[in-house]
Symmetry: C2
Subunit: 339 residues, 2 copies
């Protein structure tokens, strides 16, 4: 990965991630893709058109890969695992469609956002369709316990999104508040993806808990790295897709850390630029300079590393297989993106 | 109900419908309301604030009443019935929140729409939350067969909404197309509400089918009457809440029937006013005059009566109880709203 590459740029490099996990999962991932496209079908053609536009744009399928690999690590993926992996991707895609409407984002996975092509209304309603279909998939996977996990994750995601929305432009947001948001909006689905993969093998409660812990910590590391990448990552090289959070007034950890250790002038700067008013041309570069001075990208990535370590540790008691090794490598990949 | 009252005006008259069904269901409805408010709770206070604003605005709870009454008609409502009734109301409320964003409606149940108070983003995300929570409620009701019915209904509703969206402003929409939209966006949830109420009693497949048929036909009659009421109903008295469909370019049965039997001048009028362009001040009154001339409100209500009869007939083989009688009276109430 090039220095300073944004998540979008990384996702665009290849339609399928070039890492070991995707290679190992080959046939399973193809099966999940087949389920996804089959369950997208509707006589209302706008639905598969819009949904496939986003789904086929080259997302890395990180979440369904976690579901599949968790099952393999505990004995093997089955039909239920593959349906649950597809359900997880449906929930994720529905969330992306609604997020882009909420954030008024113009780009997603290197393409013009769906709502800019078909309008906000279509994105909202097709998101609803995907969300409903994800539950039909879960019903077909035939396990109420798994449905409980994913329906709880879904309401937690919505809570996280609302929390983020209601605290946008509040430059005084705390570290705790930020962690609460990313636990809900990102880590909850990673945790559920791993847990339901494990559960699909009829594993022990301790094994399900271990994979949930893996997923939750991986999700936290993933979001922390994403938020560091929005300011250029460790190298802080300017790139064309940087600064989305900055422009939208989303207060993420780099800003929180810089603000906490900043002087009065810097705090006034953050209050102005994150407070929702008009930006001046040099604001973003000035923000990057403060982040460098306060070392806050590095410190954000230190947080990511702590959660990454917790994710690795969670799998310590799991059987020593190629799947465990590869799930650990996925953690490294997530953190290394920022360097 | 006063002549020409709109659905909003009817819903506003009393916080609890004054009909026999609500009276019979008293304690059950209170229990459902308690479940609804308990499941709305979230530490993210914007969620219960926004959701309760809509839920407590005096909706008639028609769908959960159908769920409860179907169960009583087959032996009695239980905890699962009440949870499913709450889940049905959650799905309905989520749909209303997203609908109001899609339609840019400014009024709902006689109040300023939630999205006008809290913004589109909050309405989208709180709708997602309610939708997710509806599935948690279904999981607690502990029956996968019921989950299948409601998840299928949810994706059908979204399909109906997308279909309506993609054919808005198409003045040449056919009767078939219209019926397909209202079957999906309205009748699917009425059908599911009745079916899952029946299923919660562990009824026979024939009984579940009978209640589903009842719900579907009642839903169709309900929507047809709503669409007639948007043009003033049988009396065609002008009221301040009329004409939402007309202004939004939603092609409903009154217009389809008028257009089919209209002359060239009238067809040109419908093409212009439903086609999405600017309206002239006298357009709506001219539309009402054509609808009167072509008798299309009456003919729309004739359709409603056919479906209402089918709803009544569906319960013909059910046990002769006060519940069956009252469910039949609910059909009469739905149709009589328009007179």
């Amino acid at each position: 990965m090039g220095p300073g590459a944004t998540p979008e740029a990384i996702e665009r490099e290849a339609p399928r991630p070039p890492d070991a996990l995707a290679g190992l999962l080959g046939a399973d991932l193809d099966a999940v893709d087949a389920i996804i496209h089959q369950r997208l079908s509707s006589s209302v053609t706008l639905i598969p058109d819009l949904a496939a536009y986003l789904i086929d744009a080259g997302g890395k399928r990180v979440r369904p890969m976690i579901t599949l690999a968790a099952a393999h690590a505990l004995g093997g993926a089955n039909d239920a695992t593959r349906m649950l992996a597809a359900a997880v991707e449906f929930i994720h895609t529905a969330t992306l469609l609604h997020d882009d409407v909420v954030d008024e984002s113009s780009l997603r996975r290197g393409r013009v956002s769906a709502h800019r092509v078909w309008g906000n209304s279509a994105s909202v309603l097709v998101g609803d369709f995907l969300f409903a279909r994800s539950f039909t998939l879960m019903v077909d996977a035939d396990d109420l316990a798994v449905l409980a996990v994913l329906s709880n994750a879904s309401s937690t995601i919505a809570e996280g999104e609302v929390l983020q929305l209601s605290s946008a432009n509040d430059a005084s947001a705390s570290l705790d508040h930020y962690m609460r948001i990313i636990s809900a909006k990102t880590a909850a689905l990673f945790a559920a993806a791993a847990r339901v993969g494990a559960m699909s093998t009829k594993c022990t409660p301790a094994e399900a808990d271990a994979f949930e812990t893996y997923g939750r910590n991986l999700g936290l590391a993933f979001q922390l790295v994403d938020d560091a990448l929005d300011y250029g990552g460790a190298s802080a090289v300017m790139g064309k897709n940087l600064g989305d959070d900055f422009r939208e007034g989303k207060i993420t950890l780099p800003v929180i850390l810089a603000r906490e250790t900043g002087d009065d002038e810097e705090r006034a700067f953050w209050a102005r630029v994150m407070g929702g008013g008009e930006h001046r041309p040099a604001d973003f570069e000035h923000a990057l300079a403060i982040l460098r001075k306060r070392n806050s990208i590095t410190r954000t990535l230190d947080f990511a590393r702590v959660y990454a370590n917790a994710a690795r540790d969670a799998l310590g008691a799991m059987p020593d297989t190629i799947w465990r090794t590869t799930l650990v490598e996925l953690v490294d990949f997530v953190v290394d993106r920022a360097h």
